[in-house]
């Protein structure tokens, strides 16, 4: 075996430029696999991180039916969720650790001589807990604030920076929203952009009662957020909510829901769908490149068999069996493709960070993709090296010895 490897190495070294050009197809293909998969996993890791930042075991109930392609208004455009639904969810659904309704409006906010246009979320006191918001300083508003529609709010990092300057603690300050003074009771820790690229930190959270009565005048909610006790009960909780809401909304069995329930997993899948398409596309190109590379190896191995016909004849004459010759040339083909694969992996490791640096794509090279790429290159060597090796092994020793 050692001798076979030595001979194969010698044959490859004999014409180093030709060997390298032969490997090039494999190198490009494997590098494309590594980079492509790293872009896919990098993007997925990013999305997963963002989805996770939304909270743990999160369920969101949107008003409107989204499974019908948004024809019926989509994303809460036709609010159907009421205060009564909220009370019922709190009372009757088990396995839930927190429920919050959600109204949104964009308002003009001023503090001192600074002002800004900010999205206000009207939510319950559970919301910060449900969506995993941490407090940089201060604290959340309370149940009492919600019941009394108190003029209090907590503000996100970006909003605070706009109104009070970078790093200044806004807790205790007064901000004017639609000319009404609101006291800032909490300063939210930063979360960054969400899965769809929006800044989650440019936000004001306040009791939904305050937002509805004092700002928007809405009487219905666009959504509910719920956190379940564990991931296992999510399905059960989803069913409970659906049954309850259908009852409350008096939807007969032949009608569709006028709400949609999405779990975190579904939102993550949705956001990852594009990534998957990208990964598949890059994978397809890499696959084509690998096939072309494999054909290159087959081509050069056929040339090599012809060039070395006399050598093969000599080997057969001194006692090599057909399978010895087969193994010899197969080893050579596999060595070519595996070395090409290794170089391709190295190129991938070199290219992926460059892609992140200059094009801003998140990349993450997984061990699985390296193992996969390496195995694929070995398999290519075996598949495309087999025919030339078989041709070598089936040479007639007399003809091979006499070959000029």
């Amino acid at each position: 075996m050692l001798a076979i490897l030595k001979t194969a190495l010698r044959a490859i070294r004999r014409n180093i430029l030709r060997s390298f050009l032969t490997m090039l197809g494999i190198i490009v293909g494997i590098a494309a696999v590594i980079v492509g998969v790293s872009m896919g996993t990098g993007a997925k890791a990013e999305v997963d991180k963002q989805i996770a930042s939304m909270g743990n075991n999160l369920l969101i109930v949107f008003s409107g039916n989204m499974s019908r392609g948004g024809v019926r208004g989509g994303f809460g455009m036709q609010p159907s969720l009421t205060e009564r639904d909220y009370e019922a969810l709190r009372r009757e659904v088990s396995g839930v650790v927190g429920v919050s309704p959600e109204v949104r409006t964009t308002v003009h906010v001023a503090a001192g001589n600074q002002n800004s246009s900010v999205g206000v979320w009207g939510v319950s006191a559970d919301f910060a807990e449900i969506r995993s918001w941490r407090f940089q300083s201060g604290e959340n508003f309370t149940e009492v604030d919600v019941r009394t529609a108190n003029k209090v709010c907590v503000i996100g990092k970006t909003t605070a920076a706009t109104l009070f300057g970078e790093g200044a603690d806004p807790v205790g300050q007064i901000i004017r929203i639609k000319n009404a003074p609101f006291t800032v009771v909490g300063w939210l820790a930063a979360k960054g952009a969400n899965a769809f690229g929006q800044d989650q930190d440019d936000v004001i959270l306040m009791p939904y009662t305050s937002a509805m009565k004092r700002l928007s005048g809405d009487t219905k909610f666009r959504a509910f957020s719920l956190a379940t006790e564990s991931a296992e009960v999510m399905g059960d909780v989803t069913n409970q909510i659906a049954t309850l809401l259908r009852q409350l909304h008096q939807i007969t069995p032949d009608k569709e829901d006028d709400f949609s329930i999405r779990s975190q997993q579904e939102m993550s899948d949705f956001a990852n769908a594009n990534n998957r398409i990208m990964t598949i596309l890059i994978g397809a190109f890499a696959g084509i490149s690998l096939v072309v590379g494999g054909i290159g190896i087959m081509n050069i191995m056929l040339v090599s068999v012809t060039e070395r016909t006399r050598e093969i004849g000599t080997r057969l004459a001194v006692g090599a069996r057909a399978r010895d010759v087969l193994r010899q040339f197969l080893t050579e083909a596999v060595l070519l493709s595996v070395v090409g694969g290794a170089l391709g992996i190295a190129a991938g490791y070199w290219l992926a960070p460059l892609l992140t640096k200059f094009a801003g794509f998140p990349t993450l090279i997984s061990n699985a993709s390296v193992v996969l790429a390496f195995s694929v290159s070995a398999v290519i060597g075996i598949v495309f090296g087999f025919f030339p090796a078989l041709k070598a092994a089936n040479l007639d020793p007399i003809d091979a010895l006499r070959y000029e």
């Binding site: 010698r10 006692g319 057909a322 007399i398 010895l401």
Partner: protein, 252 residues
């Protein structure tokens, strides 16, 4: 004593489309241990075909060929390969050394195909011993392109000897060599033959055949004459004579 090589009414026919070519048409020949046989004949006489069969590269169309008592006609490709590996050593006209491969590694080549496998240390020891036999142990790490034609052929002879074969087969071993190195190579063959190694050699040069002990002449696929060599040449004397001749040419 049974013969090492025994051909019994051996025929070999090639089929070229609808045409049948009778290369060898009924040869019986027995070669015993310790013989040094030169096979002669014009091209097309069937001598190369017979050598291919004796070398187990080919099988008889009819008749029998027994190598060391084994009927070669009944063996498959792998068994023929093993037989070549264990019992035969080949020396070719064109040397057939592997390029960019040291003399030692060239000599090791047949050992790589031994079954069971030979340990690496033993491989090197045997290859060095074979190089010693042909007087080239100081050139073990030389590549073929660093060796003269005569040296290359001696490396090839060492390769043929390394598995201690029953018979050394040489196909026009001096065809690519000048007269001086031809005599040197014949000297190696004679020395090996004196040590008991059986040699069968194809040649078309009468003076080269005179270094053998027995001369077989073929024509049209049949043996025409089979006789002992009458005025046998001995390599050291022939070499001395050649040197004397060359010297006289210089003096003139």
């Amino acid at each position: 004593m049974p013969a090492i090589i025994q051909l019994e009414d051996y025929c070999r026919t090639y089929r070229n489309g609808s045409l049948e070519v009778h290369a060898v048409r009924g040869v019986s020949l027995a070669i015993h241990a310790g013989e040094f046989v030169a096979v002669m004949g014009a091209s097309g006489s069937g001598k190369s075909t017979m050598m291919n069969t004796i070398g187990c590269l080919d099988r008889p169309t009819s008749g029998r060929y027994l190598l060391d008592g084994v009927d070669v006609g009944a063996l498959n490709r792998d068994e023929l390969a093993d037989l070549r590996n264990r019992k035969l050593g080949f020396v070719f006209q064109g040397f057939n050394l592997l390029a960019r491969t040291s003399a030692l590694e060239n000599v090791e080549l047949p050992i790589l195909y031994c079954r069971p496998a030979v340990p690496v240390r033993e491989q090197v020891r045997r290859a060095l011993a074979a190089l010693e036999l042909v007087g080239l142990s100081d050139r073990a790490d030389h590549y073929p392109n660093q060796l003269s034609g005569g040296q290359q052929q001696r490396v090839a002879i060492a390769r043929a000897l390394v598995n201690e074969p029953r018979v050394l087969l040489a196909d026009e071993p001096t065809g690519n060599l000048d007269s001086r190195t031809s005599i040197e190579v014949m000297g190696v063959f004679q020395a090996l033959n004196d040590r008991g190694i059986t040699v069968v050699m194809v040649t078309h040069e009468l003076d080269i055949a005179s270094f053998a002990k027995r001369k077989v002449v073929m024509r049209d696929g049949l043996i025409r004459t089979d006789e002992p060599v009458s005025h046998r040449l001995h390599a050291p004397e022939a070499l001395a004579k050649l040197e004397a001749e060359q010297k006289s040419v210089h003096l003139d």
